[in-house]
């Protein structure tokens, strides 16, 4: 246990963890604990009952050979009655422990979700998706995992206390001997969980590696087949699979060893109790019934002890999960870049802006540019020169590193290069929770050339995305376009959005945007020459300089780099274009 050097420190951390988890729903937890107490008392009671039945009922019956109806019925009645009460205790304990556990999980998830919602994109970009999902999924479940066995574990401790008192008061020597075994068993259980879990964790890790490798290998099956590498790939995967296998075998080997020891120790203790008990019975200090109930009590406690071991070994994992969630909650909420916009309904302009993802790698410095209202600007430049970052800054998705933006207060719509659709209906994907009429919806779908929605099984209410109807890249992009235009935005920014469409559709979409959204200022990152022709003005990105917005002709005349880029575009098709 690295990092937690003292056991008292570990204990303090554990109690803090439990206290903070219980604090979410203390009522539910308290009910569960009272069920646990009923269970503990009844369990100890049942062993006393057994002693009474053996001593006063069974042995007397066989010694005196007289059958007492009333005594027999009392014995049977008490046996069944006590077990019914005990069963009720168990039901209350378990169901409320589960309720407390999952309601707490719900509260934790909600807290994590709030963080996801409130943090702006630049925060999300710095986190890995997998990591964030782990917080909301695995970490929440790990945090609350310790809650389920907690009431049981406490009832076992209560039982042990009562039992220890009972055992010792029945017979001091035997009682002390039996109770001394408990800590040994708890220690053995904890050790068992930790040692075996380590190997199961290793196996789990290797399994993750295997899954990733298998996925990649199957995904690349065309390459594997194209180069006849089937056997080599099988061998590569087999090596990883054999690592899973050997970790598992080691885990199982250790497990079998511990299981056997955990069975052997209490059984041996029982045998020793019989020997010790025989001496006590001879000296008249102990009755046969007391001895039997002694052994029964001891046996009753052995299995629950394993659960304490389990709960204790779960503790570090819960702790780690809970700590990670707390870290996430305590990270300060970053400012939304849009709140820093200076609002002006007729202007879209940048003033001495520095653009980039972080201050160490500034893409453009001191950019001042303004886009005339209702114009159509194409942004042109080589791949990877920062066009996307530029337009994202303009839309308030990426913050400026310095400088300021003046933009209309009204809607700025941004369409991403890779459309993101949510696993919900077309309607929800376009409206995104905002109020729009069906007419607005169809109007937007129509501009985006997304009339294919008519042919979907439930029209605009068809569920799309991961769990719904599969759409092609072009179709997805058109839904994303409709999402942008439905706001009749003052500013519409397209980040190389239309290149997934075929050239004809692309032209159609852009034309209807120009026609039906005459009020909008449109800025489009363009990779196809067809777009340049439609634009009123062009902004050209070269290395770390930005030219324009100005006209295509102007740029051709003045800018050498722009000229050579235009030539490069023409070259692949020059054979037949001029016919």
């Amino acid at each position: 246990m690295h990092g937690h050097p003292t056991s008292s420190g570990r204990f303090r951390r554990a109690t803090t963890l439990i206290r903070s988890l219980v604090a979410y729903h203390p009522g539910l937890f308290a009910i569960s604990m009272s069920g646990a107490a009923v269970f503990a008392v009844c369990t100890v009671g049942s062993s006393w009952l057994l002693r009474w039945i053996i001593d006063e009922v069974i042995i007397r019956r066989f010694d005196t050979d007289t059958f007492s109806i009333s005594q027999t019925f009392t014995a049977v009645g008490l046996l069944i009655g006590l077990s019914l009460i005990r069963a009720c205790g168990v039901i209350v304990r378990r169901s409320f422990a589960g309720r407390a556990q999952w309601r707490t999980a719900q509260s934790l998830t909600d807290e994590v979700v709030d963080v996801f919602v409130h943090q702006p994109p630049q925060w999300h970009r710095r986190q890995s998706t997998g990591d964030l999902l782990t917080r909301a999924g695995v970490d929440v479940e790990a945090s609350v995992a310790v809650m389920a066995p907690l009431p049981y574990a406490s009832s076992v401790i209560l039982m042990m206390l009562i039992a220890a008192v009972g055992l010792i008061s029945t017979d001091i020597a035997l009682g002390l001997a039996a109770t001394a075994v408990f800590p040994i068993l708890i220690g053995l259980n904890v050790l068992y969980q930790r040692r075996v879990d380590k190997w199961f964790d290793i196996a789990q890790g290797e399994l993750g590696v295997l899954s990733a490798a298998v996925h990649e290998s199957f995904e690349g099956v065309t390459v594997v087949k194209a180069f006849g590498a089937e056997n080599r790939e099988t061998e590569r995967l087999a090596v990883i699979a054999s690592r899973v296998q050997s970790a598992r075998i080691e885990a199982i080997r250790l497990r079998s060893l511990f299981e056997a020891a955990l069975d052997f120790v209490p059984n041996l203790t029982n045998i020793c109790l019989v020997v010790g008990g025989a001496f006590q019975v001879r000296s008249g200090d102990l009755s046969v019934g007391e001895l039997a109930s002694f052994i029964y009590m001891f046996t009753l406690l052995v299995f629950p002890l394993r659960l304490i071991g389990y709960a204790l070994s779960e503790m570090p994992r819960s702790q780690a999960g809970f700590d990670r969630i707390q870290n996430l909650r305590q990270s300060p909420i970053i400012n939304n870049p849009r709140t820093q916009f200076v609002h002006d309904n007729d202007v879209l302009a940048l003033y001495s802006a520095s653009i980039g993802y972080d201050t160490d790698s500034v893409l453009f410095r001191d950019v001042t540019a303004s886009f005339s209202p209702q114009s159509f600007t194409a942004i042109v430049g080589y791949t990877g020169c920062g066009k996307s970052t530029f337009v994202q800054s303009l839309a308030g998705i990426t913050p400026l590193l310095a400088g300021s933006i003046k933009a209309p207060r009204q809607h700025i719509s941004f369409v991403f290069q890779e459309p993101f659709l949510f696993g919900t209906s077309v309607r929800d994907n376009v409206c995104m929770g905002h109020e729009f009429s069906d007419d607005d919806l169809w109007w937007a779908l129509n501009i985006a050339e997304a009339d294919f929605v008519h042919d979907l099984p439930q029209g605009v209410d068809t569920i799309i995305g991961e769990r719904g109807v599969g759409l092609s890249g072009g179709q997805r992009q058109r839904i994303a376009l409709a999402r942008a235009v439905i706001h009749r935005p003052k500013v519409l920014i397209l980040d190389d959005t239309t290149s997934a469409l075929d050239p004809n559709t692309e032209i159609k979409v852009l034309r209807s945007i120009k026609m039906k959204l005459p009020e909008s200022t449109v800025i489009a990152v363009a990779s196809r020459p067809s777009l340049f022709g439609m634009a009123d003005q062009i902004m050209f990105f070269d290395q770390s300089a930005i030219y324009g917005p100005t006209t295509h002709i102007e740029l051709l005349i003045q800018n050498e780099a722009y000229r050579s880029l235009m030539q490069a575009y023409e070259k692949p098709s020059d054979t037949e274009d001029k016919s």
């Binding site: 069974i58 042995i59 066989f62 027999t72 014995a75 046996l79 069944i80 069963a87 168990v90 039901i91 304990r93 378990r94 589960g98 309720r99 556990q101 999980a105 719900q106 998830t109 709030d114 996801f116 994109p121 998706t129 999902l133 990649e216 199957f218 065309t222 390459v223 087949k225 194209a226 180069f227 089937e230 087999a238 699979a241 598992r248 075998i249 199982i252 080997r253 060893l257 299981e259 056997a260 059984n267 045998i271 019989v274 020997v275 025989a278 001879r282 046969v288 039997a292 791949t383 991403f416 696993g423 905002h434 196809r528 880029l565 490069a568 575009y569 070259k571 098709s573 054979t575 037949e576």
Partner: protein
Amino acid sequence: MTDPQVAGAIETLNQGVRAVPSLRQGIGFTLVLAMIGASGRVVVPVVIQQAIDHGLHRSVQGTTQTVDISLVIKLCLGAAIYLLIASVAQRTAVSRLGRRSESALYELRVQLFQHIHQLSLEDHNDEQRGSLVSRVTSDVETLSQFFSWGGLAYLLNGALMIIVAGVMLVYDWPLALLVIFISAPLVYVLRRVQSRLIAAYDASRLANAHLLGSTAELVTGAETLHAYSAGHIFGQRVKKASKVRGDAQTKATLIGALLFPSGEIFGAMAVSTVVFVGLWRGSGSGLTAGALVGFIFLTYRFLEPIAELTEVLDQTQTAVSGMRRILGILAIPVGPTAAVFPIAVDTQRLDIKIDNVSFSYRPRDGESDIENAPVLRGISCEIPFGTQVAIVGETGSGKTTLGRLLARFSDPTSGVIAIGGVSLNRIENESLRKIVVVVPQEPFLFSDTIASNLRFVMPQASDQQLIDAFTNIDLQDWFETLPAGLETLVGQRGSQLSAGERQLVALVRASLVNPSILILDEATSSVDASTEVRLTRALDRLSLGRSTISIAHRLSTAARADRVLVLDAGVLVQDGPHDQLVKTPGVYSEMYKSWESSHNTAE
């Protein structure tokens, strides 16, 4: 319990054992060890009975007690030794079962890798991939879970119940039968509760998957949500899913909470019956006080495993359906089968001959029995060595399929494709892959360095050979821009490179094989201008001295080819050079016209 479901499960398990015969190895000895191990569990009740009846004998009225200490000690010593033996036996049984099953599952995994890699490409489409991966990972895992918990529980608890029942029958058979009779309904009750529990767990698993899915959207769609100020609305959706998950789990734990007490109540009833009947019969029937007390302990031990055994039934169902899915994969016939009597092919100057080739996809399981409509019909043509051919046609015309058949990713339904006069299915796979190389539309790169992606086709290649490969197809200028040269990491699926750059790597990779025939599936996505220039240049160099077959999406590519094959609805409708086809009225000239008009509006 011999309903069809059980019979089906047994049949599946038998098939599983047939697929992995090593599962059965040594199972007999493991069973014997498990029995010995389980018998250790009845030692304590037997010792108590013996001690009470013989060692702790007491006179009537219980005033004086004569305790035979030496007998008790002898008894306990014997018991301790037996316990030790039983523990060792149990340990050995558990670890033998574990080792055997893990090794067998490893074999099963390798068998699956081999088989899946050999499946034809139509079984490898995007929708299927996830399920193929989970066959090898999670389905094999359910089997592993089963063997290390469920199978073990069957083994140990089954053995325990048999032995406890045996000992009880020896002590007092009428009482033993009574206990068994009373316990029988417990199995039914537990099954009822458990089937509810399984349904509840399924519901909560579903709710959980739903929660994770919508949380994933919240994270991956963060930019979109921000851009449309929709974070709160979608956040509410996730919270709703979180509540549904909480409800489902709460319900499941409530049902689970009923499971244990039902065993408990049956236990109390069985013990009460034993006590009542035992007391009523008294010593007259040969019953002793010790035997009755021992019997009480044995009854508890007898009931203990029932709950666990019924719990395992659920796991068994999961394992059986996992096994069934795995067997389902192994039952899919592999793609083109290996050449039976391979014929060696001269690797130089190979002509291609396509003779009356038709192709239709094999109907999938569960789909109609009707044959799928043919994708290609009666295609015939000859392609002399060194020809640059372009195949054009609308989406769905069959051009991609024809490319796949030429690379023998599938075999034609009828007709023959021959290279150098030898039918493709008579050429050994390894030599075929040196003759024909495919550069797919979206070339796949492994998440590794450029070098290892290239060595994928030529494991022994030196760094210099790899660098030369760039130079050979005129890409040295691009190579110099790579941040870490050959050691540049390409990212998952090559995501660190642009689409065009991935194609460049794919071309270098293809060039290393130096094939006689190159099949190029042209990309539809747009590539930035400078990469486009490089691609064209590299392709020109790569085409020299081989036949190339381009599956062309852009007519500019077709225009540059020596010869154009025009497919329409699976039929070869036109075949000739571009210049000639443009002038002939037909499919091609129509395509060309519409393409030209769309391009001119752009300029």
